[in-house]
Symmetry: C3
Subunit: 204 residues, 3 copies
């Protein structure tokens, strides 16, 4: 009961932070409210939608209006309180990271529930967590940030591999999930704190 | 019978106008005939394809070749008569608007037929009408026009809400559809006539 | 037996060449290893994934890890031997063309197996062969190359039409496939050798 409540809360915080990220990037391009809403939605539900389409099931946001409502609240927040949001940068970063870790696990668990092997589940977890940001960047006509900045999607992958390893060792799914959650968050925090990034590909 | 003929005619005119829009944007980037055709197809069938994939059904254009043939005719028209098309600007605009309104209703009705709730149906209507133009802009490496110009997608949303409201009041589906069609067209015409657009998001 | 081995070999060579193309384009934009891998994956499996989603079946790469492993090997190859790859340009071109032709036929055959009419199958063949490169260019924030350079996707279409014509004449599927393969390769080789491209759309 308590546990479910915490998960639901993290999910909403994560969705909210993801939507905020989309809307603020849209603001930087001077999109209108509609454009901002679509970019917010893209980050908040884009990854999960790609996952669900590939799993052959109805996209999750079509079964519960909460995700689109949450994005609408995020839009309202940016419109009304946009100028006071800059100092809260660290809070958004924390929520975004919690969302990233939770969405990764949600993607893994849903894929496993659809009888996918673990390596597919990890990829789906990574897509759930990070593909929305790529769609946002494509819509904004930018190069996707996660392809050339601090470690982001790799945090999902490593968190997912931790989940897999523990599951293989016979650890209960709930404990594996919590450990995986912590691993993903930790890697992401360290990556930003110490500007860790993957090596850059060299031309020729 | 007559009614079906009118709907079919509007659908073809709309598809044609959507395809023309894709091809002319491609011409502005000096794409070749193939690139033009793909951009035309993207606008003409892109939105409906996303809708159908999300609804879990076969994309509509795979069941009837008319949409791709219509786009081929549009390509031929641009290639042969491109230089005479500029003065017809207003005609394209009218056809495009008729298409927008009809595709929105088609998207709503198909979603309802798949037992989706009305709020999902309205989103699907909006996607059917306006997502194709976004795909076009992504393929052309432009910022999507509908995110920062006159009201376009919001016309679909408001037309869809009108449909919903009337349906809730017990109005027959056909009448709701006609009213919704007129509402969408009207908003779009007014938006272009008076340069109405949504407020722009402010940076910080 | 021997024949299956040849097909498997061409498929792997093609996947490898497609992945290399994605990774090297990513390197030109100074993406990191993760970005390179995603671009490689996009080219190698993007087209087939769109096809499978439209056919309503599980994306092929989720049923066999070989495609992702092959892309990982391609990434390793670029990272370790990137500077020695330029002189091998012609080899990549040949592999890429073999892949293009094979993927086209695979797309056609899979679509026919799903009871699609031939005109849909040809489009699916073309998507299987060439949509991956478009996704790559979208992710890299470039205008899609195949919309304004030498004939590429049209080679798939013509190869597909050859397949169709022979099938209509009652020729066995295997022979039709081989002829179609040769036609696609030949057109692509001639297009690059003689800089053949489609006419460009004229503005206004």
């Amino acid at each position: 009961m308590d546990q479910e409540l915490i998960i639901k809360l993290i999910e909403l915080l994560g969705t909210f932070a993801f939507a905020i990220s989309g809307i603020r990037h849209a603001a930087a391009k001077r999109f209108d409210w509609f454009g901002g809403y679509v970019c917010g939605v893209a980050v908040a539900i884009g990854g999960g939608t790609i996952r669900d389409v590939m799993l052959g099931t109805t996209p999750f946001w079509m079964t519960n209006a909460i995700y689109l409502i949450c994005t609408a609240v995020a839009l309202l927040t940016v419109v009304l309180f946009g100028k006071w949001m800059e100092p809260l940068k660290n809070a958004w970063f924390v929520f975004d990271t919690l969302g990233l870790a939770l969405f990764t696990i949600a993607g893994i668990q849903k894929s496993l529930a659809f009888d996918q092997p673990f390596w597919v589940a990890i990829i789906m977890g990574c897509i759930t967590g990070s593909a929305g940001g790529v769609i946002r960047d494509v819509l904004l006509n930018n190069e996707p940030v996660i392809f050339h900045k601090e470690i982001y999607a790799m945090a999902c992958v490593i968190g997912g591999v931790a989940y897999w390893g523990l599951a293989e060792l016979g650890v209960a799914a709930e404990i594996s999930a919590v450990v995986s959650f912590i691993v993903t968050c930790l890697i992401r925090f360290l990556a930003v704190r110490y500007h860790l990034s993957l090596p850059v590909l060299k031309e020729k």
